[in-house]
Symmetry: C2
Subunit: 497 residues, 2 copies
């Protein structure tokens, strides 16, 4: 099937319901389908949107193109949760049905105002000449989940940006509302984070220019900026496109990064930071468009798109693509973000059992002969060890998702997905590697969900997230190395969400 | 919207996807929506189909008309479970897409044959003159959930039945396959259960006539016959339509009944029973089309449509209707079916707490001030008590779902839904009542799921199932009576499935 532009932007009412049933059933029945992560009901999922707490429940929406694994006419698909782990499908809610979002209800955010949830999002519009116009729109969601859009956009693109102007995050500070947006500066064609303010939300929005958070060139575009306050310190999470790898090395096609600072002056758009360069938020292969917010319980939560723009995945053949990460709780330690699973992830655990150093048989130490495809593995590898933790392994673990480690001198941790089933996106490398403190034990908290692995390293000092597409029969966990390896930990099968 | 015949039978590919998204979101967002029962993804749900254990999981399908709360062009919607409680949506699978099921893939059953699940179902076909033709079709489902239909029907209606000939249950016995079907005899226009046999499944099916299980007239039609063996005793569950109430009293528009016997001779179609008349399977308002099967774990499980033909429900206004019951484990005691929740229902329980006799304040004993809308209440009411257990009550419990009881002389248990929110289906009465043994404590195990109550009485000797549509804010549980009432038990909030 060829995805022409015309086809990708065909209105939903020109698609027939039987096609949609088939797409939904195909996604439902996929062997690679996620079982405790948010995944598209059909078609393509990208950015998380409107992550919030409202009316006694957590809410997140995902960008969805429902008719195939491509970026077509997008909507917001609403998910609701009591605990940030078990998500309930509330259906496709914000649809591209007005003149200000005719070519997509693109990404945005949400904030509670009185007894409603206020959504602010980018309306994507193409004119007759297929020139893009970006409107920043508003909508109210009531307690029954019904959406009422404002008649007029809140913000139109100012003269100093190109048509790349999107992904508003709405924030209340003092008695004013602020919106920060990803933008491309027209004069320099560089990526910026724009900031606007309004005293009455639906009236005038004042252009405050760009946020001053770095003196470096952030590439040609910044997407999905998110400002949160962690222990009262501002942290700006964003996705620079075209960032010079000499500023901060990265391997993914586009990185998701952050800058932590000490002060943020809203009206001046000034973030004080001593950080020399942005830091990679995730050290794996597939995280992008992370959205975070300050929750009313005093914590800061983040959720990521597991997927990247301009990358093809093996499930494209099944007409669906991508998922969201689990929710991560953010904290700061020495100016760096710590990301940890939320406590309620423990509710997915089925009866667990302890694991510990096993005998080497046929060159490997078997941790789990049959781990299944939904589990959490917490494992501590002693210092001064050198080997490989194999996940999704064949019997002989000659094929597996390989987690290589050295906990001695020149310590490192590396994920190699080159032997984990179907290979994809090879152009950007099959391994991701981080350096570790030397001669220290390595703590891993690994979550596997069929075709997704999320690896939390040393209590959240690093997270490495990735998709892989191995035969679902391959479910051995084992360790290999030159010598017998010392480790201990716990293994739990995890329930569906 | 007027549901003309033409509209109800419009092919799915003539409906547009946007309409389907809206219907799905409307069902998802309903305040009355079920949270731990199988419910339609949109539109109308009716009979459970193909209840089975295959490829390491439980399977059930539901009859669905996806475009509204009416009986239109039906399909099978597939659900899968590891534990008979947490069901995963596998999508719309058996669709009306051949010349032998063009007007509906109607009800049927499933049995495992080698490494596939074999489905046998009624293909509903209307000819140019809108005359109904019923074909009994076969289809294979592989381990990935993909359906392959046989090219030709297995059974065409024999001469001795009218066009009302449907709902095949396929069974293996000895080295032959048997199918039992609901039928209307042509000559007498009475309800019958037909039986056929085949030695090779896809070849010739032999007409063995009708099952001889009663000498009484079973009304004008029998639907959904199900034969199971409980402790090796045959039990025939079925839905007689037009049954004379002098044979077995019932109040619903159509009842769901059973006959228990001592022997079943397949080839003779003869069931030996000493039971004088069929017995109501459920003593509530809304159970129909129960499907049961002998599972490989040695147990017998049943699941029911909670809904009735020709009845309107308040959610019709929200464009969706009905649900399935929880799975019930069947056993026999003194020739009567005992129905109990399956053990895994316990996995839904959140932290529970004991309840016991409380002080009368303002004329009521409060059991739970705020029970929410998803809970299990196990309560034992002492003997010689006379009063009302109120569920879904307002503060003063002047509006509530009322469970009236007398555990003294002339003991009874009665459910009155006349003051439980929106009233509906009044024509068939607002109360259902059963007699109880005198001067004995009454054990109730009550499951509430927003708009559904399933009440198991005296350890499954009776089940009373009903829908009700009260304001979701009304969630008080209290007891009222002339005097203070003695009771004890446990209350658990229940998680989403």
């Amino acid at each position: 099937m060829e995805w022409t532009t015309k086809k990708r932007y065909l209105p939903y009412n020109k698609w027939d319901a039987e096609t949609l049933f088939d797409l939904q059933a195909q996604a439902d029945q996929s062997q690679f389908q996620l079982h405790y992560h948010i995944r598209p009901s059909s078609g393509l999922l990208n950015d998380p949107n409107g992550f919030s707490y409202f009316n006694g429940a957590w809410h997140v929406f995902y960008q969805q193109y429902p008719f195939g694994p491509v970026h077509g006419l997008k909507s917001w698909h609403h998910m609701k949760s009591a605990d940030l782990v078990h998500w309930e499908d509330m259906g496709l809610t914000v649809k591209p049905d007005t003149q200000f979002d005719s070519h997509g209800a693109y990404s945005g955010s949400a904030t509670v105002i009185n007894d409603k949830l206020f959504l602010m999002y980018t309306g994507n519009v193409r004119d007759q000449n297929w020139v893009r116009h970006s409107y920043q729109n508003g909508a109210w969601m009531d307690q029954n989940g019904h959406i009422k859009k404002l008649a007029r956009p809140l913000i139109e693109a100012p003269n100093h940006v190109t048509e790349h102007f999107r992904d508003p995050q709405i924030l209340k500070h003092g008695d004013k509302y602020y919106a920060i947006l990803g933008a491309q500066d027209k004069e320099t064609e560089t990526g910026k984070v724009a900031i606007f303010s309004s005293s009455d939300l639906t009236g005038k929005w004042n252009d405050l220019g760009y946020i001053n958070f770095t003196d470096k060139d952030m590439g040609y575009m910044i997407e999905c900026p998110n400002l949160v306050f962690v222990d009262d310190q501002p942290v700006l999470i964003f996705c620079p496109q075209g960032l010079d790898k000499k500023i901060t090395p990265y391997e993914n096609i586009y990185p998701n990064m952050y800058v932590a600072g000490s002060k943020f002056k809203f009206d001046a758009g000034k973030m004080t930071t001593t950080q020399a360069a942005p830091i990679n938020l995730d050290d794996g292969f597939d995280v992008y468009a992370t959205q975070a917010f300050n929750a009313p319980d005093g914590k800061v939560y983040a959720i990521s798109w597991v997927g990247l723009p301009d990358v093809e995945y093996p499930t494209d053949n099944e007409n669906w693509a991508n998922c969201l990460s689990q929710v991560k709780e953010l904290s700061l330690k020495n100016g760096r973000l710590i990301q940890r699973p939320v406590a309620a992830m423990g509710t997915l655990r089925q009866a667990g059992h302890l694991i510990r150093t096993a005998k080497v048989i046929d060159g490997r130490q078997v941790v789990e002969s049959h781990a299944g495809q939904q589990y959490e593995l917490k494992i501590t590898i002693a210092r001064n060890q050198n080997g490989t933790l194999h996940l999704a392994g064949t019997h002989a673990v000659d094929h597996s998702l390989q987690l290589n480690f050295n906990t001695g001198k020149d310590a490192f941790f590396e994920i190699d997905r080159s032997k984990a089933g179907q290979t994809f996106n090879k152009k950007y490398g099959m391994t991701r590697k981080i350096c570790l403190p030397e001669n220290q034990a390595l703590d891993l908290d690994v979550f596997v969900d069929h075709s997704l692995a999320e690896v939390f390293i040393n209590n959240g000092e690093h997270v490495m997230t990735l998709r892989y597409f191995a035969d679902q029969k391959n479910d051995k966990i084992a360790l290999t190395g030159k010598n017998s390896l010392n480790y201990y930990g716990t293994f739990w099968n995890l329930a569906d969400m």
